[in-house]
Amino acid sequence: MEHPKPEKKGFPEEVRHKLGGETITLCYQCGTCASSCPVGKVSEKFNPREIIKLALLGERQEILSGDAIWLCCSCYNCQERCPQKVEIADIMYALRNIAMKEGKIPPIYAEFANGLMNEGRIVPLSKFLEKKRPELGLPPLKPAGVEALKKILSASGFDKIQQKKAEAK
């Protein structure tokens, strides 16, 4: 494949040093991932081979500000089948993690983050169903460990990601 322009060589290295991104430089562009992808079957907007090519060419801005990295459905089909053992689905996470750190947070993910930080759950409980539990014969729900979780989210820097979003605006 083509080689990245000298000023763009940094991005593959950046991804490779990110958790999940370690195997990106092993890709030889065979396209097994693209032909195994259920999203690619129904939409032209997502092609895992193309995303990895752009990343290897150092097209940081195009990748991070685009829609494509958010269209992986995390089914891991590609990763199972890659002859080079490129961890493609994990690379999508690594690319999303980089975008997030720069405040590029899709609204649905901001909702998940809020749920996790405030209630310890990304899907909020329904008051209606909580009340209905005894009637259904279900035991009361145990409390979520919100306090412990807040400490963990602070220690991992997760709580700062929301601030990044505010700064990016």
């Binding site: 199972e80 169903l129 279900l138 412990a148 963990i152 989210l153």
Partner: protein, 291 residues
């Protein structure tokens, strides 16, 4: 009797009490004791991993710590929870550097991941603790007229290197567990392909197109119902049929049941003891067929 720490996760208690009810009833009836622990949280599934992988591993490891303290292995119902927790458990057991980093984070909450416990999907528990023969002997209801399209969802199988559950390209366990109940698991096109569920909320049109494929393929194969393991697959395929009707003007009405519900019926529970009212697509055709 074997005991496990039950990891309920977010979606099941918030949206699918019918799943929780059937799982609790059937597993208890088979002699599996489910222990509800205090202070568990979200498992940190793909949406959290998308924000920060290291946080995802830490949150999953925190929950595993609670089971370690209680000296219990974890049993999950939700396939998404299974994936997040099993990946973290196996990855941290294998990768000392990552374990040290995660334990630094966990120390803020006074926890330490030791790697002393297992994370099992309840299918795994049925396979190992009850066994196919044990299951066959427990069946009291005749399900032999039932042709089912099984759909385990992606995260019971993949990434197989870390989940270590079944062959990712030719899985058998789920179908064997269905056949052990007397029902017949049938082949359909693209059986192992994703339901698209994780794209809901970000790209609803793409998610629905993928779900539609799954529904069409199961109907074409002549299945009486779809059997799921994962609450997201269930939501995508059950409520999804309403969305397919409004978007594509196509009506399928194929019932979707969780495996735990099929198991409960096979063990002789009456439909009124379960909570089928929470299904969007009515399951009456299935209940009639087995009555």
């Amino acid at each position: 009797m074997t005991s496990y720490a039950l990891f309920l996760g977010c979606t099941i208690p918030a949206r699918q009490p019918h799943y929780e009810l059937a799982a609790r009833k059937s597993l208890t009836k088979l002699g599996v004791e489910l222990v509800d622990l205090d202070n568990m949280t979200c498992c940190a599934p793909p949406p959290v991993q998308s924000i920060d992988l290291e946080t995802g591993l830490s949150v999953a490891a925190y929950n595993i710590c609670l089971a370690e303290e209680a000296d219990l292995d974890i049993i999950t119902l939700c396939t998404g929870c299974f994936e997040s927790l099993a990946i973290a458990n196996n990855l941290l057991k294998e990768n000392e550097k990552l374990k040290t980093r995660v334990n630094q984070i966990l120390s803020s909450a006074g926890k330490e991941f030791k790697g002393s416990k297992e994370v099992k999907h309840y299918l795994h528990v049925l396979m190992t603790d009850i066994g196919l023969d044990g299951l066959k002997k427990s069946v009291t209801k005749d399900l032999t007229k039932l042709k089912v399209a099984s759909f385990s969802g992606c995260h019971a199988l993949r990434p197989s290197a870390l989940l270590k559950f079944d062959d990712p390209e030719n899985p058998r366990k789920f179908d064997e567990l269905i056949n052990a109940l007397g029902a017949k698991s049938i082949w359909y096109r693209n059986k192992l392909k994703c339901c698209g569920g994780l794209l809901r909320g970000y790209a609803d049109d793409i998610a629905l197109a993928i779900a539609r494929d799954k529904i069409v393929n199961t109907v074409k194969a002549g299945a009486d119902c779809i059997i799921t393991l994962c609450p997201f697959c269930f939501l995508t395929l059950d409520m999804g049929q309403f969305l397919i009707k409004s978007t594509y003007k196509e009506e399928y009405n194929i019932p979707v049941l969780h495996y735990a519900e099929l198991l409960s019926l096979a063990l002789g529970m009456e439909p009124k003891e379960l909570a089928f009212d929470f299904h969007k697509i009515k399951v009456d055709s299935i209940l009639t067929k087995i009555s």
